[in-house]
């Protein structure tokens, strides 16, 4: 096992957090180069984390550095496509934050470019697949003990969002996680979606409809009901319940303590998604480093998974606007064949 030398493109909050992970908590990787559209930001990151890493003026230069094995792309969403395509050209392994690209066509270009290399290079940062709760849930479903899934109920609640968060972002920033993780859980593809707007909370500003309910239907007829409520005030709360023919399985609310006090038994709730999925964030990146370090292809969420998430996300946005059921285009069959859902589909 050799140390994986990593270049980081994008040293904002998430990029810095990934660097901290590689340098301070994970094994087998080393950040050897960084760049950012703000070189000042990149420099501050190097200093703050006392990195022994080169600062590159541009991602192009960084990607030409032959000593770099893999890149982490944590720039803004619209920049992903260009960076990923160049990284593929440069023959680097890529860990890219979601979304893979902001357009379906952009995603397809990436999938095809990767395909031409004859091997998997890309892992997309859908960290929930590495969360112990979701992994245990998938394991139960796959056991066959519960028969077929019929209904999936999801809740995605944040305590607060700021005024930059718009109605559309409920899909692209929030629901996108459910879109990926539910198809991974049940091994099925979406065919249609509808959006309901309940009475809005007084905490939402003018450009945000909050909460929203997404009803999705899959090829085999499973109905997914997903509530997105990003000003729920009380904390960060992720729920997922799968109703099957022979039982119902749901992930639990993480809680460390039971406190009996002043008339209540209470469990402190997590306030922060970073804390809720801390193990998953570590595990996804460790898994990427482990595979690359062994000379293997990444095994996490693939470029096809990233493509499908964007495809479904676009349909969800259409459904937000139209108020009607929207048909979700079927991903090309040969792409699904290569997916990484672990269900051994055709």
């Amino acid at each position: 096992m050799v140390t994986v030398r990593i270049g980081v493109i994008g040293t904002g909050a998430i990029g810095t957090e990934h660097i901290r992970r590689v340098e301070q908590r994970l094994s087998g990787g080393k950040v050897v180069a960084v760049t950012d559209i703000s070189l000042d930001a990149a420099r501050r990151c190097i200093n703050a984390l006392q990195l022994d890493a080169r600062l590159y003026d541009s991602e192009d230069d960084l990607l030409q550095d032959p000593s770099i094995d893999a890149v982490i792309i944590a720039s803004s969403g619209p920049a992903h496509e260009g960076s990923v395509l160049k990284a593929i050209d440069a023959g680097k392994y890529v860990f890219v934050e979601k979304p893979l690209a902001t357009t379906v066509n952009g995603c397809l270009r990436i999938v095809q470019a990767e395909e031409r290399t004859g091997k998997r290079l890309i892992q997309v940062g859908f960290m929930r697949r590495y969360d112990p709760r979701y992994m245990a849930l998938k394991s139960e479903i796959k056991s066959g003990r519960y028969g077929a899934p019929l209904i999936v109920r999801c809740v995605h609640r944040n305590a607060h969002v700021d005024e930059r968060y718009t109605t559309e972002m409920a899909v692209l920033d929030t629901l996108i996680h459910e879109i990926d993780v539910i198809r991974w859980l049940i091994g099925d593809e979406y065919v249609s979606v509808q959006v309901l707007y309940p009475r809005g909370t007084r905490y939402a500003h003018a450009r945000l409809q909050d909460p929203q309910i997404f009803n999705l239907v899959t090829q085999s007829g499973v109905v997914i009901t997903a509530e997105v409520f990003v000003n729920c005030q009380y904390g960060y709360d992720i729920q997922c319940e799968v109703v099957c023919e022979d039982g119902v399985i749901s992930i639990t609310v993480p809680k460390l303590l039971d406190i009996f006090r002043t008339g209540f038994r209470a469990q402190p709730l997590m306030q922060d998604w970073k804390l809720r999925f801390a193990e998953a964030y570590d595990a996804e990146l460790q898994d990427f480093i482990d595979h690359v370090g062994r000379g293997d292809e990444p095994a996490g969420p693939s470029s096809v998974d990233g493509y499908i998430a964007t495809l479904v996300g676009e349909a969800c946005v259409l459904a937000q606007v139209s108020g009607e059921w929207v048909t979700i285009p079927r991903p090309e069959e040969d792409l699904i064949v290569k997916d990484s859902l672990g269900y051994g589909r055709l």
Copy 2:
């Protein structure tokens, strides 16, 4: 407080259970007369419970008995309207099992007949309003501490149903309880409904689509998502969660024990709705008896509540058939004024 002398019309399973309650568990009432379309059944009931009660050949005779203060109507649904109207004519107080009547017009006839007497005579058997969990939930909502309700999520699951249970009965026998209790909880009226059919369980027979999801919207925009799943295999499970602006409140799964055994912590679940709502069944009838015994009008679910439940139920059945959103007719304003939701509406 005088003893309330009760005549019972209908001595099937539910009627017998109500008689048992009055005679063996509750205070202040006495069953003095019974009748049934099967006189044999009525006779068996008298013997089995060792009742000191007259057996009448017909409900007409029973209703003419001046020594009877109140009647419990527990015959089959289609028979309710006729019995209730005659009971009103005879000046008896009426406790009638749901539905008040099987048609909207039948319900309206009852509401108007009662109105002409100048007082409330009727209580409908929506027992959930007497369940400690639902009562506590309503109390929290009404406290104002949580702001406005935005979403209500309901689950109504039975372990099994037999082959007589059809798709339509998911509304009339099952969802009807949610229809009543949710409007009572949040003090709001429904305006539209949509039905989704998820992939069906292999346990459902040909005439039953199972599970079903009902999406209802209220005047103030609250979205109610109600799952009905009557072959869930594992037990009787009633859930209700109210998502408000400042918090989420849900009723708990009743459990008596925690058992640690063979790799699991487990809580035995109730299998039977009679057990789940045993306290509520007792409380609704005791409340009826208490009011009548004091010479007061009944204070439980009114004929208007029964009318609205049937009105909404009819729309839900239309939505089952059409697959589209169905508009729910607005109950006449002066009826709502007299409702018993406890929200002091106009």
Copy 3:
């Protein structure tokens, strides 16, 4: 089934509550006479509850009333022995609040007097045996699925007590419930007891050591650890966990709601023992009335159970004083034979 005509001796808080039960919630009984050492109190009770009952100047007169079938004795503890003995003499059925008598010899006198009548007349108010949680727990233990019980852990916490509550009352008023219910649960008799005094809460006054821990050992070697903490501030909390060879079973904390609010998931706790055991109080008295109404002997906690509770309680008080292990006298074998633990012991 005839109506059981009941006389009540003692119309304080508990007596009044029992009268309310008989008159307003239960079936088959009627309070026809009352008395109290304060005739004013008895008169106020009659008026407040609008009873159709005679007021007697003395319990002797009341007990001579041939129209009375049964008496409820809810006077102060030291008065119980005299009342019970007279009631036995008068041939009345007796429901007596705990303790049966405040001394072991007093209890024995009652047991022997009852024995001379050739039938069971007495039921002692150990209501926990009628609590659904404890009943379910006993049912599991008796199932044999868990092997032998090895350890029982009990917690008995009250939010607050007033300054009349002393160290000794932790046994006689509080632990007494555990003493009875645990031997009923596991079908075993106590042989020794030790008391530990943890650091005391600042909320306890000078005459009260609070909390206390009682360690009891049974004939078969089961160790019971019982915490009594009567100023726990947060609510009324009764816990009971039975550690068996093949599993652990515990009763759950009753909760109606889950509330997600301001960083916590919380469940409101019951503050009041009357509420916690409301069903049990109703059930014990209904059971007594049902048996007497049918002409059967009472089947609830017997005079022997009351005797053993006082016997064990006395040893616990000795252990409070001595700080050492105290041997609990063995109840006479022929008494245990007649006990009502439901384990079919020799």
Copy 4:
């Protein structure tokens, strides 16, 4: 931050697990040398984990290697003292598995040897201090919101042990974790201990009394009740509840899923202590590496903590034998001053 070069003494199960951690999951450390009393075992470990590490014939040689910064000692308990003393002599930082040494005098020799170096070199493997649940519990206690701790209830249950596990090991291998973590939680020292032997499970062999209950008392009067039950059959179960003046705080049973199936709601329980404390094992070693890598002294459980655990453990073993209360010798005041309980005691 430099890479910490680590030598490992003892490549059994725990040693190998620590090596795997350093090499595959943690950041900043590298295993550069190993030894074991069985050189074959050490060689197999090197091969299995594909370590780039020197194999030393003896710990003496390993400790003389100037390229080694720190050692992990994971040999058998009786070997610890010798290894730790030599490591101190060699000026290495030491991470030593519990116990620090098997005798109180052995521990004292280590404490004094370390003291002579003028700095902290040693961290003892009491990993629970790094468990998120225990950390959250300590944080609540220290907040002062709950007043003084009065009672601590601990449960330590294993599904099964093999026949090598004896009564005494219930203290030295099992309770030792509670001994350390409770004094760390509440910042208090033990003064006496008593052992109760409940009826034994039929699953225990002849040399093991199982379960056992330890009652410990601290200087401020806190009573700790600790159940050790190592054949509980159902899983690995660690509980800890702290009863304070103004509330009760307990750690929760970790659970990932809620499963509704065949009449039960169930949560799969962890079967394995390695899984239960996986995060804590990682965190304790990462913390050690971080401190050493920065040139700081280790901040985890100190040699004084290890000494006190052995001191208390010895008294517990005496109490197992005597059946009486045993006084726990008071650690010397100047040692406590240097402890690492985080309560800033004198």
